[in-house]
């Protein structure tokens, strides 16, 4: 675990010297602030539920931007050779990279939105149950997206390609259930419906925590990071 943390820590420091972290979090907060204000003034409801539902979509674009650099840049600069010849397992490199982006996400993207909770508190205490599960959903969505982003970044040494590959994977996950309806009722349709992203998080934002949804998010993380590790390993064989 110390190896993972070493890589995570370097990743975090690298984020703060590159403009990506600041640009992405600023744009995210501008978009979310606008949506928050708009939703609050129109619904006059002290709840973050519509806010969270919008966030799932905005983050779809922001997460790949945060992770596009992670493994792609190492491959472009040749520093991957340092990591892969250090006494560190490939999965530790991948996990370290993922945790770096996840911590950045929590601190720079999720953290500042707690300010909205304070604003709600001023206008009338919100229902804290759905608020807490909403933030749990926020964390799960972020983790799932970022892990897909790390996988996309493992595939190429070009950050732009990494961004678009991750974005397209996430978009396909987003609309997978639409494809499911094409096949009619059946196992394939059920499977496609299951892997579709949006409905897994609508419940949690309403305050209903279903283990299926948590398992779903964690599965996306584990599978993505596993695949990224495999990609790194197959690079060695070329």
């Amino acid at each position: 675990m110390r190896n993972v943390w070493t890589i995570t820590w370097r990743e975090l420091k690298a984020y703060f010297v590159s403009p990506i972290a600041y640009v992405v979090s600023a744009l995210f907060l501008v978009a979310m602030g606008y949506l928050f204000a708009l939703i609050l003034t129109s619904t006059r409801d002290t709840s973050l539920r519509p806010f969270f539902n919008n966030m799932v979509f905005v983050l779809l674009i922001m997460a790949p931007a945060l992770t596009m650099k992670s493994l792609a840049e190492e491959q472009r600069m040749g520093t991957i050779e340092l990591l892969l010849t250090s006494p560190v397992h490939d999965w530790q490199v991948v996990l370290g990279k993922f945790l770096g982006s996840f911590i950045l996400f929590v601190v720079m993207l999720l953290g500042p939105t707690l300010y909205y909770v304070l604003i709600l508190q001023v206008f009338g205490p919100p229902d804290y149950g759905p608020l807490l599960t909403g933030y749990l959903g926020f964390l799960l969505v972020g983790a799932a997206y970022l892990s897909v982003g790390v996988f996309g970044s493992s595939l190429t040494q070009n950050q732009v390609i990494a961004f678009f590959v991750s974005l397209v994977i996430l978009l396909l996950l987003w609309i997978a259930d639409a494809a499911g309806s094409v096949f009619g009722a059946g196992a394939l349709s059920d499977a496609l419906t299951y892997i579709a992203l949006p409905h897994h998080f609508s419940d949690i934002f309403q305050g209903v925590v279903d283990t299926t949804d948590i398992v779903y998010a964690l599965s996306v993380v584990v599978i993505s990071l596993f695949l990224a590790t495999q990609v790194l390993q197959t690079r060695r064989w070329r």
Partner: protein, 317 residues
């Protein structure tokens, strides 16, 4: 070679290493040993397979076939144990340009689980004369300094084995001498494997040279003996229909011919001075005397070919 596997003194044992890139063999059945405390130089033109061999030994990529053991551990199945014992400077120096020299070395030292990181970093900064640049961002360093940061990185955990891919590339002559002296001072305690495409580099630093060309080892010896083996001559193969004792003598009279020896009935090997093609003169003589020319072609001695390539490359630089 089962006896080589049990040989406890060889720190690096590579056996029949082959690496295919598609249908191109970057390494073709290469075997060699590096003894403890020795400095072995890989010498070969660019693209000869030096980097591939080093990448296999450091666990960066597995061989297509063959095995290698480093410090007694298999590079493939005990990769992590091997990596702990190796300091590696890849061909492309793996630097994070946004980090300071100190932070970068600290990162590598953490990855390498160095116990007293500050002491270790101070030590390698001293060794590579980088102490004054400790707080400089790597992105702002010149190529020579970056190369030294790469070497410092390979030394930070005081590894048993050092694998340095072109360690002096991009350095100015003064820095080259410094780095060569540094490498020489590491011998004994450390086992060093370095690669270069510059001939004098190996003769000045290495105790043994391995010449690689087109993925194969073409020669392996001490620098002195390798030099003696290449006497600066070219060889020509001649075959004539008639055999006569005076032919060799007559051939030797041609200007530029150093010697001619009968190898078989009517077959001669002619040695000429380097860089002068005497085939036309030889053919003219054979025809004039009516010996009956059957065959005339230069003999390529792979070792000399490689040396020629290496020496011409250095002139070109």
């Amino acid at each position: 070679m089962p006896e080589a596997a049990t040989n406890g003194t060889a720190t690096i044992q590579a056996q029949n290493l082959t690496k295919w890139y598609g249908n191109l063999a970057a390494l073709n059945d290469v075997s060699f040993d590096v003894q403890k405390g020795e400095i072995l130089g890989f010498l070969g033109p660019n693209g000869a397979g030096k980097t591939t061999a080093m990448r296999i030994l450091t666990g960066y990529m597995p061989p297509s076939s063959g095995t290698a053991r480093v410090a007694g551990y298999d590079v493939f199945s005990d990769s992590i144990e091997v990596r702990k014992r190796i300091g590696y400077l890849p061909e492309t120096v793996p630097l994070y340009t946004e980090m300071s020299v100190w932070d970068y070395l600290d990162f590598v030292a953490r990855l390498r689980a160095v116990p007293d990181r500050d002491d270790a970093i101070e030590r390698v900064l001293e060794m590579t004369t980088l102490a004054e640049r400790a707080d400089t961002l790597i992105g702002k360093l010149s190529k020579g300094f970056r190369q030294r940061v790469g070497i410092a990185q390979a030394l930070v955990h005081n590894p048993e084995i050092l694998i340095l891919d072109e360690p002096t590339i991009g350095l100015d002559p003064k820095q080259i001498i410094e780095i060569r002296n540094l490498i020489k001072s590491l011998a004994g305690e450390h086992t060093v494997l370095l690669s270069t495409h510059i001939l004098p580099e190996v003769s000045q630093t290495c105790s043994r040279i391995l010449i690689i060309n087109d993925g194969k080892i073409v020669a392996e010896d001490t620098p002195e003996r390798l030099g003696a083996r290449v006497r600066g001559a070219e060889h020509i193969h001649l075959q004539v229909a008639h055999s006569a004792p005076e032919i060799a003598r007559e051939l030797e009279r041609i200007q530029g011919v150093l010697g001619a020896q009968a190898r078989a009935d009517g077959v001669y090997e002619i040695e000429t001075t380097l860089g002068a093609d005497r085939r036309a003169d030889i053919a003219a003589l054979v025809v004039q005397r009516g010996w009956g020319l059957l065959e005339l072609h230069p003999v390529s001695l792979s070792l000399e070919e490689v040396f020629l390539k290496l020496t011409t490359e250095e002139v070109a630089q």
